[in-house]
Amino acid sequence: MSTAATAALTGGFANPPVDAAHAFRATMDVMARPGEIRQLTQARPPAPLSVAAGTLILTLCDPETGLHLAGAHDTKDVRDWVAFHTGAPIVPAEAATFALGTWKALSPISRFPVGTAEYPDRSATLIVERAELGAAGATLQGPGIRETATLDLPEVAAFAANHRLYPLGLDFFFTAGSRVAALPRSTAVMEG
């Protein structure tokens, strides 16, 4: 077996039910508390995926969820790894349940489904890979936040525009290394 083929078979969860359970709890925590940063350490995905992004994909994706790979994240290694571990079909942006890439590669985000008035849940969740993920940055307000929170975002305008679509809109995870934070559509975003 070639090295590349072997690589696709490795890096999954060592103990799927338990690893996925822990990963989901961190994932749920950040979605419930926009701006909070948690660790996701359970996967060993191929480059350029971060450990956190790889863990999110193993936790949430399967044959029922279309995944869009944007820009440099759309490689054969990544496709093979996703196919072997999740069976998620790789789809264009318009059909995505999940999308993965850098902010630049994912933009313009208007390509992704934002749900319908009757089914706002039929929308995409974007996993935005960052070089770093810090707490200082834009000011956040909304459900899950007692007063205000802050988070370093790639920009403010696009997220503020997304929030204006509420209850439609996209939801975001930000990943860097093994760190993860989230920004649901319900969060109002202001310059910090």
Binding site: P17, A21, L60, P120
Partner: protein, 289 residues
């Protein structure tokens, strides 16, 4: 008790858990909106907590300490049955102490002790649609939610007032979540409604009706009312006869053939901890617990 090896951790298979987990995330992103999910047939009957059980199973880790209550009590039969199910299928630790629990699955109550940000409250929901008794059709109620058309609900509450002088809803009292969705808080007494703006994550599972919804911490949750008829979270006007608590929701117990009554905390853990701390109610001396 030994863990059942023939089933996956927490009974449900991984693909089903992922589907439930995705629904939970959408629910958190759109608080109060009912996310459809492909509820599975569980080994307990629909209407007996299958939605709550599926949500708990998707949220549990082996490190959790689970508390299960029904009517506020840990030892009501269905609470015992559900707790036993998770002991057997997930091997998780369980507790009756509210403050010790990391996940609390509940039917019809919110514990008296304020929950913390390290806790998750999972509600069992029979009918998730707050508009269901006004309009039985899902196709219609879905439209109403999409258009934020809640006039029917206000008309119903207003008709109550003109007929009875009061809003005639005492439990499952509808709330407006994050200024957008009218939501059924499950059949908790309206006394519990004000607690819903809390530090913990609240997840709602309706198995038979195939819906999951959520309220993130500190989300704005407002009980519907009118300026001249403000929401009134009242309860029986008595202290607990066992622990003397004035601030807890009470069960009424008929004591004898003459119809004498006593009132006791519905939250059994709250009552126990108060009695252990030396608080005594009217009938504390003559009762056994």
């Amino acid at each position: 008790m030994s863990v059942m090896d023939e089933y996956n951790f927490a009974y449900i298979d991984e693909q089903t858990k992922r589907m439930i987990r995705r629904a939970i995330l959408k629910g958190l992103a759109v608080p109060g909106y009912q996310v459809p999910f492909a509820s599975r047939e569980m080994p307990m009957p629909y209407g007996w907590g299958t939605g709550g059980v599926q949500v708990s199973a998707a949220a549990l880790t082996p490190d959790d300490r689970l508390k299960v209550i029904d009517q506020g009590a840990d030892d009501t039969t269905n609470a015992v049955s559900i707790r036993k199910f998770f002991e057997r299928t997930a091997g998780v630790a369980t507790t009756e102490e509210t403050s010790e629990a990391t996940i609390i699955q509940t039917r019809h109550r919110i514990p008296e002790v304020e929950l913390t940000e390290d806790q998750i409250l999972v509600y069992q929901v029979p009918i998730p649609e707050p508009l269901r008794f006004l309009e039985p059709r899902e196709t219609e109620t879905r439209k109403m939610h999409s258009l934020e058309e809640y006039g029917l609900m206000h008309v119903k509450l207003y008709e109550d007032i003109s007929r009875h002088g009061n809003i005639a809803t005492a439990f499952a009292y509808p709330v407006m979540v994050n200024d957008r969705y009218v939501m059924d808080p499950s059949p908790i007494p309206k006394f519990d409604n004000p607690k819903m703006e809390m530090a913990a994550v609240q997840l709602f599972g309706a198995g038979r009706e195939q819906r999951i919804y959520a309220v993130p911490p500190w989300t704005k949750v407002v009980s519907l009312d009118f300026e001249d008829y403000p929401f009134d979270p009242s309860k029986a006007d008595h202290p607990c006869d066992l622990c003397g608590a004035e601030d807890s929701y009470l069960d009424e117990v008929i004591l004898d053939d003459a119809g004498n009554r006593m009132f006791v905390c519905s939250d059994t853990d709250y009552c126990r901890s108060r009695r252990e701390a030396g608080h005594e109610g009217r009938l504390a001396a003559e009762t056994m617990a």
